[in-house]
């Protein structure tokens, strides 16, 4: 490993580029943003190659005490690594998606996005509790501005709702963090992950963290900010919201709730299963009746996040690895679906499903890619969605058959709303002249969507590339939570032994 502080550089590049972008003209800001995000992508790829899955738990560690109880401590394990990959991969695509769609106040827009990337990378890399919180909450400001300035007609309400909802969730976590630091006398996340808090306190700590992560993820019933935020945000904003911001909740559960409060988690497994089950089934049904494409995909996000919480709180290997893959896959697929919506929105300026139809005739390339992502969202084998949902369902089945029934119902409903959406948009007769006259994907749009499609297939056909870095860390997590994992009702029960002769075996 080189002596360079790679993670700091990874965070600093978009930060500095964002500040510089403010002083450039529109085109300069676009190119600078693209260049900065591509450099980060390359750095991210280097991290992936340089990361040693069989090596130490925390790699690329940096530590610089700032003062008092906060230090600039960075370091990643496999779980953070893959989420950093996801972020750096989606960012250039977001910049590309905004290339023509955003025309007013471009430098500020690019600056907000780059700041966003720096903060998100910081969340995944932070090893200090307060540093984590600062990055975690800091992301609210650029996203508030992105929704509020460049959003749709109802953008103001959506931006307020997003900001205040998530802030309200997070502040309780801060109090819990203060308590934890007081009890454990350290702010280092790795040390806290090994610290045993009193069992009574764990319950409250878990609930405080749940308040924050449930809103971020989002879980039913605190998901209501998400459809508003998604619908009003510009396309790239929705991509980053679905692709990365929602992953903060799942990451929080893996990094904090499970390892730090195993007993607290154990107590709330039934609650988590019930909420996840409602999320999967109820929001799928809600998605089924949406008329707005973005809203439909937003509700499907909530349903997919239900698989994440199912998998995580099954507390077994398949469940947790499945939850991670669902997060990665959902980041790619829902991001791509929002881009697909953006493609037609840029042409017709409406998201009403009824205004489209028969696009397969005039936009064959679009129909092809849209189908790939629809299938991935449904969870067709060969795509990333299958791997995640399958593993997570297997894990859930080991923990509880009833939960598994709810989860698998969601898969069926997911197929229903996604296929129906695809049918209404791409197949059928061309009812509207303007929709029928839309040109197919431009070269730029191919460049945005094709890489995601490739990644979706890669994750679907050879998921090992993505599971390998996290395997060791999931193992370490399991060691910590094994004793409290829910004992499922689906264990094989060996029957009474039968003598060999009785079943007709011969000598």
């Amino acid at each position: 490993m080189s002596g360079l502080p790679l993670l700091t550089i990874l965070i600093a590049i978009p930060l500095v580029a964002g500040l510089v972008a403010l002083f450039l003209n529109a085109n300069g800001a676009r190119w600078l943003a693209l260049a900065a995000t591509l450099i980060d992508l390359a750095l991210g790829a280097y991290l992936w190659i340089a990361y040693d899955p069989s090596g130490a738990q925390w790699q690329f560690v940096e530590h610089m005490p700032v003062a008092g109880s906060i230090s600039w401590a960075l370091g990643i394990d496999g779980i953070a690594l893959v989420l950093i990959q996801l972020t750096t991969f989606l960012m250039p695509i977001c910049i590309g998606a905004s290339w023509r769609a955003i025309e007013k106040r471009v430098p500020e827009y690019m600056a907000a996005f780059l700041l966003m990337e720096a903060l998100m990378l910081g969340v995944f890399a932070a090893q200090d509790l307060f540093l984590f919180y600062i990055f975690f909450e800091g992301g609210l400001i650029p996203m508030y501005l992105i929704i509020g300035i460049w959003g749709g007609a109802e953008r103001i309400k959506a931006s307020y709702k997003f900001f205040l909802y998530t802030l309200l969730g997070s502040v309780l976590m801060l109090i819990a963090m203060l308590y934890m630091v007081g009890a454990a006398h350290t702010t280092s996340i790795p040390s806290l992950m090994a610290f045993n808090f009193p069992v009574d306190a764990q319950k409250w700590l878990f609930l405080a963290f749940l308040a924050s992560f449930a809103v971020k993820l989002p879980m039913w019933p605190v998901h209501t900010w998400l459809p508003d935020a998604h619908v009003q945000a510009p396309t790239a904003g929705s991509v980053i919201l679905a692709g990365v911001l929602l992953k903060l909740g799942g990451y929080g559960f893996i990094r904090f709730s499970l390892p730090m409060f195993p007993d607290g988690s154990h107590q709330f497994v039934p609650l988590m299963f019930v909420l996840s089950g409602i999320a999967v089934v109820y929001t799928s049904l809600v998605a089924l009746v949406q008329r707005d494409m973005k809203k439909l995909i937003a509700y499907s996000s909530v349903a997919h996040m239900g698989f994440v919480t199912f998998g995580l709180f099954a507390m077994n290997r398949q469940g947790i690895e499945g939850a991670m893959i669902v997060m990665l896959s959902h980041g790619l697929v829902s991001g791509a679906l929002f881009l697909c919506v953006g493609v037609v929105y840029d042409r017709l300026h409406t998201r009403e499903i009824d205004r489209y139809g028969g696009l397969a005739d005039n936009m064959p390339g679009y129909a092809l890619l849209f189908m790939v992502f629809t299938m991935a969202s449904v969870g067709l084998p060969g795509t990333s969605g299958f791997v995640g949902e399958f593993l997570s369902s297997v894990g859930t089945y080991h923990a509880s058959t009833w939960a598994a029934i709810a989860a698998t119902t969601g898969i069926i409903l997911g197929a229903a709303y996604m296929l129906w959406l695809y049918w209404r948009i791409c197949f059928g007769t061309q009812r509207h002249k303007d929709a029928a006259a839309m040109p197919d994907l431009s070269t730029r749009e191919w460049w945005l969507l094709a890489p995601i499609a490739l990644a979706v297939f890669w994750m679907g056909i050879y998921p090992e590339s993505f599971i390998r870095p996290i395997r060791g860390d999931v193992g370490r997590l399991l060691v910590r939570i094994e004793r409290v994992a829910p004992q499922g009702d689906s264990q094989l029960t060996p029957g009474p032994g039968v003598p060999r002769a009785a079943h007709g075996a011969t000598q």
Binding site: A67, I70, G138, L145, I156, L164, V171, I175, V181, G182
Partner: protein, 478 residues
């Protein structure tokens, strides 16, 4: 004799300097106002540097009437510069009319002397004298624009209510003195330490706290704040919101922890109530405001509430968090008010409506960015530095076992965030309104820039030095 006076060097410099400047100003008339102002600023800066040495550690002076300790020195180190900034802020603001007389700077100097007596007082008498010196100067300052009806009204309102509060405070002081026979903080602490306080002592304690709460504009004694802040000339409002407020909070901290330390259980519930009431009233009442000065008035009520959470936590950690909070609060508030001073229509007249900020980010991006930084910082949203002092006060509360108080307080930050967001929304998301006139004031501009950088994430680099100073300063009163 010289050695005995050395610990009071800053106060002596300011009092003598202010007296001389007053005489000079009387003869120089309006022509002298500019250089009297600059001399006052120089005097305040010199007084700040004079804090190094004896004034920060000499201990009790004049038989314990006042003391020269690090706590007081820290208070003066934030009070003098903010008084200087209040003078600089007024410089460009008043000058257009014929109303900017030299007395403005002199009044602020006297007020600074009063505040430095307040933060170093260790006797009820010096406490009262310091407080009255500040108040008398403040009444005049609030009514400083005779041409403006609102200013006169603000001055009168402040005077009547302030006099009432002084009366309450004095009554409390007389009760404490009558029941203990001493006016010194050490004597009071000893009296309170002798077991459960008598009814008379309790009454005295409540009255003294009520008087101090008025000066710090803490709910339920905050009623004067929005009116006075709105009516007073903006530079004066900037001054009221910063230095005197910090002085009052620091004084309350010293009284509670040093004089009433053994009676912590008696005052803690009062402080908790005042803290939460201030946080929530400050947050909720600001919703409907259309005048930015009124809004900042409620914001200051809200912020003092957070500082009081640190006081309710008590102990060195709590005191340290109060000092840290007030230091950062002053920077944020002065920065925000310096921005408000730049709000002028094309003809150069001051504008105070929040509406006029519409679309400021498109007409004046740097100005809007600075104000947005102050707003997010006042709201306590990370990664801005305003988050850290909030974290410290909540940390102190949690460490003392007051988790419910911390939870209630932090929920208040979410309610408060709404109106800070509203200003950002108006500046960034609304269509541009008539642009402001460009103001050519490089010094004010530089001050805004410094304040904005200090509360930006770069501020976290200050945690180390500032934290160790506030810790030591807090230790010095225990």
């Amino acid at each position: 004799m010289i050695a005995r006076l050395a610990p009071l060097l800053p106060e002596l410099m300011l009092s003598i300097g202010a007296t001389i400047l007053m005489i000079v100003a009387a003869f120089a008339g309006r022509r002298g106002s500019a250089w009297v102002s600059w001399l006052s600023v120089a005097l305040l800066i010199a007084a700040t540097f004079a804090l190094i040495g004896a004034p920060s550690h000499a201990g009790p002076v004049f038989d314990g009437i006042v003391t020269a300790d690090l706590f007081g020195a820290f208070g003066k180190a934030i009070i003098f510069p903010s008084a200087a900034i209040a003078i600089i802020a007024a410089h460009g603001w008043f000058e257009r009319g014929a109303e900017h007389a030299s007395e403005y700077a002199v009044l602020i100097l006297f007020s600074a002397v009063g505040m430095s007596v307040m933060v170093s007082a260790t006797s009820l008498i010096s406490l009262y004298v310091g407080l009255e010196l500040v108040s008398l100067a403040s009444y005049v300052l609030a009514a400083y624009r005779p041409t403006d009806e609102r200013s006169a009204e603000a001055g009168l309102k402040y005077f009547v209510l302030g006099a009432l509060a002084s009366g309450i405070l004095l009554y409390g002081i007389s009760l404490l003195y009558g029941f203990t026979g001493t006016a010194s903080f050490a004597g009071l602490a000893a009296a309170f330490g002798r077991g459960a306080p008598s009814l008379g002592l309790l009454f005295g304690l409540v009255f003294v706290l009520a008087g101090l709460a008025f000066k710090a504009s803490v709910v339920p004694f905050h009623m004067w704040t929005p009116d006075v802040y709105e009516g007073a000339p903006t530079p004066v409002t900037a001054f009221f919101a910063s230095a005197p407020k910090a002085a009052a909070v620091l004084l309350a901290t010293r009284v509670c922890l040093e004089a009433l330390g053994p009676a912590t259980d008696a005052w803690r519930q009062i402080v908790i109530f005042a803290a939460l009431a201030s946080i929530f009233l400050g947050a909720i009442a600001a919703y409907g405001q259309t005048n930015i000065k009124r809004l900042l008035a409620y914001s200051s009520i809200n912020n003092v509430g957070f500082a009081l959470i640190g006081l309710a936590a008590a102990g060195p950690r709590g005191a340290s968090s109060v000092l840290f909070y007030m230091a950062v609060y002053i920077v944020m508030t002065l920065g925000a008010f310096l921005c408000v001073l730049w709000m002028r229509d094309e003809k150069g007249r001051p504008v105070e409506s929040i509406e006029s900020l519409s679309g400021l980010s498109q007409t004046r991006p740097a100005f809007a960015a600075a104000l947005a930084i102050f707003m997010f910082s006042l709201a306590g949203v990370p990664p801005l530095f305003g988050f850290w002092p909030k974290l410290l006060v909540f940390n102190a509360a949690v460490a003392s076992g007051y988790v419910a108080l911390a939870v209630a307080g932090i929920l208040g930050t979410v309610i408060g965030a709404y109106y800070y967001l509203k200003i950002v929304k108006v500046m960034y998301m609304d269509e541009p309104a008539a642009p402001y006139a460009r103001v050519r004031q490089p010094i004010q501009g530089a001050l805004i820039l410094i304040a904005a950088l200090a509360v930006s994430p770069l501020g976290y680099l200050l945690i180390g030095p500032l934290g160790s100073i506030t810790d030591k300063a807090a230790e010095s009163i225990f």
